[in-house]
């Protein structure tokens, strides 16, 4: 009986410590990243935009030696396509064969 409650207590304690540690990790990570989240996300978005351009290059008349493979990627990029063409300053999809909105 006593042993049981003891182990329960220690389990509880380790649980508490783990919770505290994960909290501390959360704060440290937020503290590291929050200030530059914007700048880094923007840099990533620029890279993604470039990739988007490569995937759709054939449709825009830019020859692409790997278009066979990028064609397969097009449906995967669909989700981000709308944001992309808006960001590039085009109200609607610039591609005749690829309508958006």
């Amino acid at each position: 009986m006593r042993k049981d409650s003891n182990s329960e207590e220690s389990a509880q304690r380790s649980e508490r410590i783990r919770a505290w540690l994960s909290q501390a990790r959360f704060y440290a990570e937020e503290f590291y990243s929050a200030r530059y989240r914007g700048a880094i996300a923007r840099a990533q978005r620029d890279e993604d935009d470039l990739f988007m351009l490569m995937v759709f290059s054939e449709l825009m008349g830019v020859p692409n030696p790997v278009s066979y493979y990028t064609l397969e990627l097009q449906p995967l990029m669909l989700e981000r396509f709308h944001d992309w063409h808006r960001r590039m300053g085009m109200e609607h999809s610039p591609l005749d064969d690829f309508r958006c909105c």
Binding site: A28, E29, Y32, A34, R35, Y36, R37, G38, A39, I40
Partner: protein, 558 residues
């Protein structure tokens, strides 16, 4: 006077102000609403607009606003005695800075998280917006030049800090790679980073590197300035994750550790303030305390730079509107604490009044060197660290802060040049490298024009203060106009605004004379530019308040 008593009076006053005055301002004047949907939620995009935990946000706000300025300013201003500096820091934090910072966050949050510059355009007028851009550019220019001179001076005076200061950059670069490539976790990295930094600080005194007084026709000081700007230019062009992010993180940790060490040593040692309470025996050439005190201590009492941070990044991440009180007001209190520590270090860390007088033998002398020497004396006697190590520790702290501010400042200045390139359609100016060169060039002209060879001390510092106060004035104007439109009491922001403008104009006039008498025509011209800007700000204030009141009157009639 015992330092601990002064310390606790200061901390007590700021704590009381936070619990009472900031509550009043938040509830009765800004009327912060916990149910208001902040821009972080409304425009959440995972990039700029991200609701952030308020303690984290406070940490960022505080570490971005607390730099070397709240150390340098108070450490120069104690030349008039410790009491005036103490009073201005405490009262300034309570009635000026806290209201200004939380108000800037509030104003921005209520206007779709737009920056104060953009808000000036909307709330006050187009003219005010152009004025704002010019003042921002001047502030950045001066901040970079001043901090370049400050770090160079430190490196000349404390050669033991050369290895840790430059080594810290290397540590940051390595940490950046470790985190970016996910080699080890953040907790481990923090521990390693702090140990590496403090290892370097302990190592520093045994490997001093002294720059010779003259290097090929250039003063040693000037060589350091050139090296620092070369570094800042490169740093501001690198991707942020590589250097800026890890260095800021380490700096943030170091700021807290440093503050705890300094405050702990102060309490343990309880030194006596050797400097006079009110210095009646100031060195010849020291300008009058009124108005110069109020521009010498800008950061630490009130600083316009905070408004840029508050409305630039903080407002986009505010989770709840009521957090503005904690983040903004308590952020200022944090900075006030740093300034208070600087005052105590620069007035209590000397063996005798004679020592203190030799340090402060002219206006603009002392400053950060006095902070380092005084602080080192306190730490070594209070905690038993060797004095050389303690001095290295504080030098590194000040130099790293100033360095961070420098390359952030250069980055912002580069953006301004690029924006001008955009506005005036100059393609070449839009290139990052060229815009950076322009920014560095303009800063170097100012740094050398202000006596970079070490002869002039920090004569440019008060000029930086005036520009910074002008910026704060513009932000306060925006808040006041908003309050008037909402038919709420405006005196809590208008009185600080008027006070700031009067002191700034008086200080500029006084300096105008001293620059003229000293024959420093470069700074004279700069002074005139700032003076014109401040008069324009004052007129803009009067005009917009009058206009808004008339609008309200006609509305209530109709």
């Amino acid at each position: 006077m015992s330092a601990v008593v002064v310390l606790f009076i200061g901390l007590g006053a700021m704590a009381l102000a936070y619990f009472v005055y900031s509550k009043f301002i938040a509830e009765k004047i800004y009327r912060l609403d916990p149910d208001f949907k902040t821009p972080a939620h409304e425009f959440e995009d995972g990039i700029d607009f991200v609701p952030t935990n308020r303690y984290v946000l406070w940490g960022h706000h505080f570490t971005s606003v607390a730099g070397a300025a709240p150390i340098v300013g108070p450490a120069i201003a104690v030349i008039w005695g410790w009491l005036p500096a103490f009073l201005w820091v405490i009262l300034g934090t309570i009635f000026f800075a806290g209201v200004h910072d939380s108000g800037a966050i509030w104003a921005s949050v209520r206007n779709r998280a737009r920056s104060v510059g953009a808000l000036t355009g909307d709330v006050v007028g187009k003219r005010a917006r152009s004025l704002f851009m010019i003042v921002i550019f001047l502030v950045l220019l001066m901040v970079n030049a001043v901090f370049g001179v400050v770090i160079a001076g430190l490196l000349m005076k404390f050669p033991s800090a050369v290895v840790p200061v430059w080594g810290a950059i290397l540590v940051a670069l390595i940490i950046g790679q470790l985190i970016y490539r996910r080699i080890i976790g953040l907790a481990m990295v923090s521990v390693i980073g702090v140990i590496a930094l403090y290892g370097l600080i302990i190592l520093g005194p045994s490997v001093p590197i002294q720059m010779p007084e003259q290097v090929g026709g250039l003063a040693g000081n000037a060589v350091w300035i050139l090296l620092l700007f070369a570094y800042a230019a490169i740093a501001s062009l690198l991707p942020v994750w590589m250097l800026l992010q890890p260095r800021d993180y380490i700096n943030g940790l170091q700021l807290f550790v440093g503050l705890i060490i300094l405050y702990g040593a102060l309490v343990l040692l309880n030194p006596t303030l050797v400097a006079p309470m009110y210095n009646t025996n100031v060195p010849a050439g020291t300008p009058s305390i009124i108005p110069l005190l109020f521009v010498t201590i800008a950061c630490g009492a009130i600083s316009g730079f905070h408004g840029l941070v508050a409305s630039g990044t903080t407002s986009k991440q505010l989770d709840k509107e009521t957090d503005a009180r904690f983040v903004g007001y308590f952020g200022s209190v944090g900075e006030g604490m740093l300034a208070l520590g600087a005052i105590l270090a620069a007035t209590a860390g000397f063996a005798s009044l004679a020592d203190w007088n030799t340090m402060y033998d002219a206006f603009g002398k002392g400053g950060v060197n006095a902070f380092v020497e005084g602080g080192a004396y306190i730490i070594s006697n209070g905690l038993g660290l060797p004095e050389a190590t303690a001095a290295t520790l504080l030098t590194v702290m000040a130099a790293l802060f100033a360095g961070t501010t420098m390359d952030t400042g250069l980055r912002l200045q580069r953006y301004i040049f690029q924006e001008w390139g955009e506005i005036y359609n100059q393609q070449w100016m839009k290139k990052p490298a060229i815009a950076t060169l322009l920014a560095v060039g303009s800063c170097l002209i100012l740094a050398f024009g202000a006596g970079a060879d070490g002869s002039g001390g920090l004569i440019i510092w008060p000029l930086f203060g005036t520009t910074n106060q002008l910026l704060a004035g513009l932000t306060l104007l925006v808040i006041t106009v908003m309050l008037v439109r909402l038919k709420r009491p405006m005196w809590f922001t208008l009185v600080p605004l008027i006070f700031l403008l009067i002191m700034t104009v008086l200080a500029l006039l006084l300096q105008l004379r001293s620059f003229y008498e000293a024959g420093n025509y470069f700074l004279l011209v700069l002074d005139i530019i700032v003076l014109i800007a401040s008069i324009l700000v004052a007129m803009e204030c009067a005009a917009s308040l009058k206009r808004v009141r008339r609008e309200l009157a006609t509305k209530s009639e109709g």
